[in-house]
Amino acid sequence: MSEQGIGKRVTRREDLRFITGKGRYTDDINLPGQAYAVFLRSPYPRARIRAIDAAAAAKAPGVVGVFTGKDLAADGIGHLPCGWLVKSKDGSDMKVPPRPPLAIETVNFVGEPYALVVAETLGQARAAAALVETDFEELEPVVALAEATAGPQIHPEIEANRCYDWELGDQAAVEAAFAKAPHVTRLEFANNRLIPNAIEPRAAVAAYNRPTEEFTLYTTSQNPHLERLILAAFVNLAPEHKLRVISPDVGGGFGSKIFVYPEETAAAWAARRTNRPVKWTADRSEAFLSDAHGRDHLTTAELALDEAGTFLALRVRTRANLGAYLSTFASSVPTYLYGTLLAGQYRTPAIHVEVEGVFTNTAPVDAYRGAGRPEATYVVERIVETAARELGIDPAELRRRNFIRPDQFPYETPVALVYDTGDYEASLAKALKQADYAGFPARRRESEARGKRRGIGLSCYIEACGLAPSQLAIQLGAGVGLYESGEVRVNPTGSVTVFTGSHSHGQGHETTFAQIVSEKLGVPFEQVEVVHGDTGRLEFGLGTYGSRSVAVGGSALIKASDKIIAKGKRIAAHMLEAAPDEVDFEDGVFAVRQTNKSLTFGEVAFAAYVPANFPEDLEPGLSEKSFYDPKNFTFPAGSHIAEVEVDPQTGVVDLVRFVAVDDFGEVINPMIVEGQVHGGIAQGVGQALLEHGVYDADGQLVTGSFMDYCLPRADDLPSFEVDTTVTPCTHNPLGVKGCGEAGAIGAPAAVMNAVTDALGVKDLAMPASPERVWRALQAA
């Protein structure tokens, strides 16, 4: 195996451009003759647009045009769709409010765009935007999630602001179990709203070629093909074959760049309308207001147990804030990506979950790192920890008693998933040892001697990654398949160009995928190039989200590589005058079994393009495509342990240690996997201790900048101790499960279990800010 093969800590090839300032992000792209777009955004959470007077703005210096939602509608531009149809308990379809890219009659959240100004310079566009006079009639907004269904109706056709009322699981079995349960643990809590804040703000540069009627749209998307599909099929911007979407280097996404947003839609339309390339780059204030937010649940959870601590049933009621409109995948996050994960790592025999998705006059809420699974893990791991405390059972022991055992896989949960494999006891044992769980009481005494409080908390999470077989997803309402494409193109000289439909915005695919194909084909790592993020260069792809890239995208490349090898064997057999089934392929050499006849991969590649007397049934060329549709979700799982020290005088929580032991199945590049875990933990710790997107009662975003929204800094975090255990995924060719979200999923519950342990309180709201902690101690 080469030094750059599967399982090796290969440094990333993409780094060279990033560390020398040669990355090429959307805002770095400038097209000849480009104009600049600035959006007008609603200052009100809910208002009727009576009139927009753009006369002065239109005459301002440098202005190319001022456009409103009516202009887009008149040009046939459709609404932004939601790609996942969720049905309510009663079988009815979810209620979908119309979402024109630019608001036409009403605005429904602060920051909603309703017009744009295009001008020669950014400064001129901003100055002109200030001249637009908009007459708003303010309407009473719906802000508080708890009262959202009782508030004024936001969308005329949607009663009680309720999008759906969804359920999963066997309610009767759960009620029966609760009726005779010796012990019930109950918790009510919120899962705090988060604002993703990739450091690169969203941006778009759009150009339109009139003679060919072709659009080129550079934009900050995690899935350019999906963007193209939606803009073509639903928004009617252009036919799909006339629309090229390119995601160049993208500076982080964490979910927030999956979605199709109003701004790139309107900017692309404006490029055609003005016959000028149009550029738009969000500033951070716009990002806070208009990027899709994450989480924002209110939940009541109850766990029924017997005297020995065996879980009997779990009952969960959640109200999920969807914001003012349904963002691209918003509906699926608090349902199929949440309710299905409530079994956690446990044998809980009966589970019933009800989720009410509601609209409020706030920014749309959609998938953010983990997407539903952090919320589910928080429910399960907070209530399990609380139950352990109530029953006086060590929290690790209570979990052990209820774990699905290794011999029980495949394991069908009561919430519709079939876990293929896992060894939860193994990762917990490793994590407890690493965290010196046994030594905690001594450390606590030492802290107390210094006047501090100390706590330790566990979180044994599971996640479903890769997003499942298309058939199942489509059955459950998904509007797209969830396969991935891959193409392996062998060049005549034997180097390889790999095309993947997944997209890298920090994950390092250019390295990881090259490792996979290099090892599979025995081609030197340096001779494998990975191409992604351009609908003009690869045929289709579904992008990167849900920790799916290696499990699904990598598997597609394995399948395509298998086809290359099969074709190579036929070519080699022809050249070596043997039968294809006599040819073996290993370490880059095609060899006829039990002979000394062989050809290198490079020789076969060359022959493929210089085909001397190939038989009729052997086509020249060596390039293969594959679409891989996963047979099941993958189920990464692990144990996270947080240890905190609390200063009771100020309420400051110091995270002194964080241990994560994760089972991601096989690992392609341990260095990259560790980096993914670190980043996820940081976001999870951010949710638990620092981050909170807050609207005031009037619907204004209070945390609209980094002055108020607390993004974790280097000195807010400790170094992390991360390790893995391995049970290979049973149903994909690489045995991989996915690692991108684990940290964000496991960490919040681990930290909050530690904080509540330190304080000796049953519950505390996230984020555990100093004042909240201080108040909890005052009250205790």
Partner: protein, 153 residues
């Protein structure tokens, strides 16, 4: 107004608007797009460059304040084959993912090592980099990279 400054060892005479920011000049007039803009409240540090020997946020320096200044951006540090030790350490320790914060982070890290003569421990690195946000790495590997580079600078 006229502006003279030296960027990455090259002298420039430019005609700029008084309200232009240093970062606008670097990215726009000089095409040095390695310096990024990540916020509008002078916090994220993605725009950090070295000016007259100090790390500064170029989104919070007006053109006129840069008159006569010597500025070093990420492009002026080192190229493949001849990387600055900090650049090399960032790659070796996987201290970057999406790469957007990286140029500013590297400039800040070099400034930190210089002003402490490399006498750094983990706490000092974490506090020293508080002016640079990274959303990808959780800072873990950045800290490792800076400590490693401090040994070699």
């Amino acid at each position: 107004m006229k502006l003279s400054l030296t960027v990455n060892e090259t002298d420039h005479e430019l005609e700029v608007a008084p309200n232009a920011l240093l970062v606008d000049i670097l990215r726009g007039d000089l095409g040095l797009t390695g310096t990024h803009v990540g916020c509008d409240t002078s916090q994220c540090g993605a725009c950090t460059v070295e000016m007259d020997g100090r790390a500064v946020k170029s989104c919070t320096v007006l053109a006129g304040q840069a008159e006569g200044a010597r500025v070093t951006t990420i492009e002026g540090l080192g190229a493949p084959g001849n990387l600055h030790p900090m650049q090399a350490a960032f790659q070796a320790h996987h201290a970057l993912q999406c790469g957007f914060c990286t140029p500013g982070m590297i400039i800040s890290a070099i400034d930190l090592v210089k002003r402490t003569d490399g006498r750094l421990d983990e706490v000092a690195v974490r506090e020293g980099l508080a002016g640079n946000y990274c959303r990808c790495t959780g800072y873990h590997n950045i800290v490792q990279a800076v400590l490693a580079a401090a040994e070699r600078m």
